[in-house]
Every structure is written in structure tokens, then in C-alpha cells.
């Protein structure tokens, strides 16, 4: 791995960014070939945080393995759990009570909101503005508190079990969510004032890290990265799960394909998530929060695939079952992995500063890529 680091014949500078770098958000290691300040090649070196979750899952039961997946994309851990639980439920053909479905979707959207808020602050930080980070964390903290009340954890919620959710909502949940929404609505204009309308920010992101729609499809870019290129790829709209087909929300699509488009998509998604929460918070149906399931879950022989929309894109869960109480083989198709593979394509010909903007708007979470 190390022999290639250095310089090559054309006088290009080969430089390491990461694994210990302020803007790689974790232990991503990029080897960049530079000519002056212009990027000629970006090569990701992965594996610094690879825990082989897929192998671990092979020895865990269908109830246990869900919790391991919280550690993949830790910013949307609840949605990871959701995807896994859906896959098990699909195999077992478990009917989920409506209340559980609503709770799951509510939590999904809160998680997405929290994840996007963190991304928003971190992107501004990548571009050299520190202050937005504190503004977004002010609101994110409230979501974390909501999560803590109900799930008992702030980041790795582990709230979903096959058949529903682990326990009922906290009695204060509805009131607190409404309070949060009210506050968030009054604060969201600050985001536009601080970052969106800033001319330097616009110049730093417009036309940077461009990827066309065709390339986005070919590279398997999903989530805001794909939608920024005009690719309709919201799993919640295309292949609705739970109660998403009964909800009113828009799939935010931008067509310019650059970092600015991805920024706009994510900011738009925050608003859409807020709308979804608003629709659901007063309409949580009464009833069971968990379906009756057997103590030991056994999936029939065969393979099962489900997709959910995490904050970063399409998460696929592929379970191959031999009929036992543990999966025979499990594969997570993580959104970050495919998005990262397009990084080289997107950042060639740009400057080092552009690379940071591109990486920031891809919203990479390294444990999601390394798994």
C-alpha cells in the first residue's frame, strides 16, 4: 500500500489525506495525485475500521444481528435497524401493527433530520466556517434527547425488533416533538442566512464535484447524491415500505449534479422530513406496538432482499437463509460504499478545496463504508 505513495515521473505530488485528517470524518484514507493544486486522481484506501459485520452476523440470531447493524451507519442507525427488521419480517411474513409502523417511520424521519443536521454543520466546517456547526448541534441535541427518552440511547438506538418496536413511546414524546418542530421552524431560516445565502459558500459548491445522471446510475449513487444529479431514487417513493405510501411528501430532486445540488437536496429533505413528522405526530394510532412472534425466529430457506432509504441513500439488506436460526450469509449494500466509488470521478480536475466540498456533500460515514 505504501510503495505507491511518493511522487511519480511527471513531477506530480502524491499526498495522503487521512486516515487522521480533519475533513475525512473518520478514518478514511485517500491517496491524492496532485499537479500543483489540481487533482489528477483520488484513490480511497479503506479498511481502517472494518469489523466484518457481515461475518459477525452469520453467528448471531435474527433478533441479535439487528443491533450490530447500528454500528454501520451510526448516524442513521435506526434506519439500518429498520431495514434489517423488514428483511426478517419479509422472510417470516410477520404482519406489523399500524402503531408500530407509525412509530418506526416517525423515528426514521427524526433520525434523518438529526443526520442531515450533523451533515450540514460538518459540511460548513469542511469549507472553513465553524459557526454553523454549533447552530445545527443546538437543534440536533433536542432530537437526541427525544431519542433518549423513548429508546434509552442517543446514537445507536436499537429500538426496532422484528415484529415492531421494543417498547411503547415515552408519554412525553408527542408534546416534545411538537415543541421541537415549533422551535425548528423558527430556527431554520438561520441556516439559510448563515450558509445557503453566503456567496462564498455558493461559489465553493456550484459546479464542484459534478456527476451526470448517467454516471450517477452507473456508479450506483443513491440518496441525495443521486437525486442531486436528477436521478429519482427515493426508496420511500419508488418502493414504499411501512406507511410511506399514505404520506404526503415530495422527493427533492435537483438536476445540476454538483455539490450545490446535493446541498439543496439535503436541505430540502430536512423540510420534507419535518412535514412527515407533522403529519404523523397527531395521528399515532392506538394498539399494539409489537406483533406476537416466536421466541426463536427461523427464516425459511431462500434469499431475501429489502431496501430502505437511509439519510445517505439506499441501504440493501440481503439475507441468504438455510432455514436455521442464524443467517447463512448476509450482505449489506451500503449507500456510502457506492457513493465513495464515484469520488474519484467527481473530483478529478478540481482543486484540493473542491475535494473537501465534494466529500462533504457526499456525506460519507466511514463505518458505513467499511462495515
Amino acid at each position: 500500500m505504501l510503495e505507491e505513495v511518493g511522487t511519480n515521473d511527471q513531477g506530480d505530488m502524491i499526498i495522503n489525506v487521512g486516515p487522521q485528517h480533519p475533513s475525512t470524518h473518520g478514518v478514511l484514507h485517500l491517496v491524492i495525485t496532485l499537479n500543483g493544486e489540481t487533482i489528477k486522481k483520488v484513490e480511497p484506501h479503506l479498511g481502517y475500521i472494518h469489523r466484518s459485520i457481515e461475518k459477525m452476523c452469520e453467528s448471531l440470531s435474527y433478533r441479535q444481528f439487528i443491533y450490530v447493524t447500528s454500528r454501520m451507519d451510526y448516524l442513521s442507525s435506526h434506519i439500518n435497524n429498520h431495514g434489517c427488521a423488514l428483511c426478517v419480517e419479509k422472510g417470516m411474513q410477520i404482519e406489523i401493527p399500524t402503531r408500530a409502523q407509525v412509530i418506526r417511520v416517525l423515528m426514521d424521519e427524526l433520525t434523518r433530520l438529526a443526520s442531515h443536521l450533523l451533515w450540514w454543520g460538518a459540511l460548513a466546517m469542511d469549507l472553513g466556517a465553524f459557526t454553523p456547526f454549533f447552530y445545527s448541534f443546538r437543534e440536533r441535541e433536542l432530537i437526541n434527547e427525544l431519542m433518549e427518552d423513548t429508546c434509552g440511547a442517543r446514537l445507536t438506538m436499537n429500538y426496532i425488533v422484528p415484529g415492531g418496536v421494543m417498547m411503547d413511546l415515552h408519554p412525553d414524546f408527542q408534546r416534545k416533538v411538537k415543541e421541537f418542530l415549533k422551535l425548528f421552524k423558527s430556527k431554520i431560516h438561520e441556516y439559510d442566512d448563515l450558509v445557503t445565502g453566503n456567496i462564498i459558500f455558493q461559489n465553493r459548491t456550484k459546479g464542484v464535484g459534478y456527476i451526470s445522471k448517467e454516471d450517477a446510475i452507473s456508479f450506483g449513487c443513491t440518496g441525495p447524491t443521486g437525486r442531486g444529479s436528477g436521478l429519482s431514487c427515493d426508496i420511500r417513493k419508488l418502493y414504499p415500505y411501512e406507511i410511506y405510501n399514505q404520506l404526503q411528501f415530495d422527493e427533492v430532486i435537483e438536476t445540476s449534479g454538483d455539490s450545490w445540488a446535493r446541498y439543496k437536496v439535503r436541505v430540502g429533505e430536512m423540510v420534507q422530513s419535518m412535514h412527515i413528522i407533522e403529519q404523523l405526530i397527531d395521528n399515532i394510532p392506538e394498539g399494539e406496538f409489537q406483533a406476537k412472534t416466536k421466541a426463536v425466529l427461523k427464516l425459511p430457506k431462500g434469499d431475501f432482499y429489502t431496501r430502505v432509504e437511509t439519510a445517505r441513500g439506499e441501504l440493501g439488506v440481503y439475507i441468504v437463509s438455510e432455514g436455521g436460526s442464524t443467517p447463512y450469509r448476509i450482505k449489506f449494500r451500503s449507500p456510502g460504499f457506492s457513493n465513495l466509488s464515484a469520488l474519484d470521478h467527481m473530483s478529478r480536475g478540481g482543486k484540493i478545496g473542491d475535494l473537501m466540498a465534494t466529500m462533504g456533500t457526499l456525506d460519507l460515514v466511514i463505518p458505513d463504508i467499511d462495515r
Binding site: 487522521q20 500543483g36 489540481t38
Partner: protein, 116 residues
């Protein structure tokens, strides 16, 4: 105080900097470790030459700066007497700036101001 003040200030700066470094030398007990001497590159050892020829983009700006800065120095004595000379000085500077502007346009057209 005159020119000596510059000497005094230089000395003060040296005393201040050297004093700080010396004090820290006295207090600090250094430890030996091969890793400490390595260049920092995000925790990965650097291989290859650092002192290599860089893209010409950086130097072009330095050259254009040199031209403009020399012109700028000529402006200082002019600026002190503008009010006394009056309109003649204004016409002078118009010609001066016109030539400078032509040079600027030339550099711009040649792409010297486009960052490589």
C-alpha cells in the same frame, strides 16, 4: 529615536523568541522516539521527495506581483505631491495607469491570471 530603534526592536524580537525557546528547552525533557521525527502526513509515512518542482502557477503570480509592486513604489513619491502639482499629476497618472492597465490586460489575455 531614529534608526537605532530598528536595531533595538530587532534585538527585542530576537531576545523574546530565543528566550521563549530557551526557557522551554530548560523545562522540557525530551524523549527519544523514531516516530517523532517523521513528517506528518495524516499518520501515514511519506515516501518520496517533498522538494519537487511545483506547478508554474504559483510563480506567475509572484512575477506579475513584482511588476505591479515596482509600479506601486513609484506612486508613493507621486502621491505626496499630487495636491501641489495639480492637473498635470492627474494626467501623468492617467497615462501611467493606462500603460499598467495594458500590461494587466496582456497578462490576463495570456492566461497568467488563471490559476493552474
Amino acid at each position: 529615536m531614529g534608526v537605532t530603534s530598528l536595531l533595538i526592536l530587532t534585538l527585542a524580537a530576537i531576545v523574546f523568541s530565543a528566550g521563549g525557546i530557551l526557557v522551554s528547552k530548560i523545562f522540557v525533557k525530551g524523549t527519544e522516539n523514531i516516530q517523532k521525527g517523521q513528517a506528518y502526513e495524516c499518520g501515514v509515512p511519506t515516501v518520496g521527495q517533498t522538494w519537487l518542482q511545483l506547478n508554474v502557477g504559483y510563480y506567475l503570480f509572484a512575477l506579475i506581483f513584482l511588476i505591479f509592486d515596482v509600479e506601486l513604489v513609484f506612486l508613493y513619491p507621486w502621491a505626496t505631491v499630487v495636491k501641489e502639482i495639480g492637473w498635470m499629476a492627474f494626467i501623468d497618472i492617467l497615462i501611467f495607469f493606462f500603460i499598467l492597465f495594458l500590461g494587466f490586460l496582456y497578462a490576463h489575455k495570456k492566461g497568467a491570471l488563471k490559476w493552474m
